[in-house]
Amino acid sequence: MWWDTQGPFRPLHQINPVRLRYIRDRLCAQFARDPNSTAPLRGLRIADIGCGGGLLCEPMRRLGAEVVGVDPSEENVEIARQHATEAALEIDYVQATAEDLAAWGEKFDAVLNMEVIEHVSDVQSFVAACAALLRADDSAMLLATLNRTLKAYFLAIVGAEYVLGWLPKGTHDWNRFVRPSELRATLAKAGLKITDLKGITYMPLPREWQLSANLDVNYLAFATRT
């Protein structure tokens, strides 16, 4: 199911290229790599928090990174492992949380929190655990989430879940959506500073998601230690 591009995770597959481009370009800028080279992320250790079926882990691995994917769901981890084996990709999948990784003393050059924090109950302690995973001052955290706006309510919940049926009903709880200002404050408390914010907007004509300056609904953030 996770890997069927026309199945229930179709929205994730559709949004994946723009997320990947953002992650790749930000990390290449941060670590002085050429994004058009083969395996530009080689030598970087990346954690994907809430990895699901591995939709981000596999591309990160193909781009050369050493990848650890964690997910609290045993089923997800099993699907991800099996798919990586079939695709002949070496990825370390662990049934765990960010807090577990922090407790084990794991360190990374980049931590990916894509579409995770809007599902987390204690955002502050979650972000603190993720911040503890960063290896050095130039290590980076990348986040994707949904803004708590009226527009996001209508597009992401009413539209995507109820009208278009892109997402199962109940996927998102609007009250947990995070405003950019709140994200900035939460990260600051964990010692991180947002240096880039970008919106993701659906363009109906090429039928693809693109980066934009509009943060009203889906947005991406890049942060490093202050």
């Binding site: 290229p17 990947l20 481009r21 790749r24 591309p59 691995r61 193909r62």
Partner: protein, 409 residues
Amino acid sequence: MTNSLNTARHCDVLVVGGGMVGSALAPILAAAGLDVVLVDREDPAVLTSAPFDGRASAIAFASQRLMTTTGLWDGMAAHAEPILEIRVSEGGSPFFLHFDHADLGTAPLGHMLENRHIRQALFAATQRTPGVEIKANVAVTIVDGGGARALATLSDGQTISAALVVAADGVRSALRESAGIRTTRWNYGQTAIIATVDHERPHRGIAHEHFLPAGPFAILPLQGNRSSLVWTEPTADAARIMRLEAGAFDRELQRRYGDFMGRVGAVGRRWAYPLSVSMAHRYVAPRLALVGDSAHGLHPLAGQNLNLGYRDVAALAEVIIDAARLGLDIGQADVLRRYESWRRFDNLTLLAVTDGLNRLFSNNVTPVKLVRGLGLAAVDRLPGIKKFFMAHARGTVGGKPRLLEGRAL
């Protein structure tokens, strides 16, 4: 399956068919860092020899840009004859259509190249590009595209595992058949006689497309005082002409050429190609993409089939390389779908246009003759429409892959 996976040669892309399309795609993909295996049932020495393929091809301006941008043109430039003008005329009609490259700028409308020179240059590129492994004299017997990787079994027993298999294996593509992709095909009952012709006077870079009732008679400039002839006749007549001894054949030629090039005579052997048009219903299947003749065979009237093949190459290379640079699985369904939707509309349009042109010109009914004569004259006097046709001949219309615009990937 697990066993064969363990012993398989892993690669990113398996290109099946080392013809003029497959051997262009392979080095372009490899230059972007992809691991490519190129398989052909023939020996490259045979493929690049004159007896294997005595034809010549028109390389449209857009195809040339693709070649130049990817470094493939270097091996061809010395053999390329620029087409400066195209003159389209009909039987005894005084009307004719005249395309001059100067109407569009300084670049030629295209270049004529003998196929063996194209093949030699592309083969050299596949050899010198790191990341292309050539496997000659083997056929692909089975392809299984159902899993997270495609598994191909070769006739020498080797298994190759690839993220994507590209079928560049020609009009009678075995890969297309085994993927269950159907094609629509129709025959014209016409056969093209192909030969190289020597003539007394220079061609001055002018290509002639002369519509005779039997079918188009095209004279395309080659280097020196030589031209490539594409002479279309009903199949029965073509068979008779093919059997003529040299002197009689040359007399038939002279009769059709007239005297504007002085004495003309065929050199080397003649070739006969029955004309048909085919169009694959789909361009992709799980972990499989069709390019070139395996996807479409056009009436050779406009000389566009190879150029459409290069547009396939430009689009597929862009889609694959963009996906690879995001770390995506280059063989996954949505990547392939992007290629298919990009190419199918373009190919169908040109197919309809050239098929229509041939039907319009291949008959002798008077009102039709009048209309097409007026039509040609009208097109000749309306600069907008003319530019549109010329842009099509040069391959510079349509949603453009970056390589066709001369931009690197």
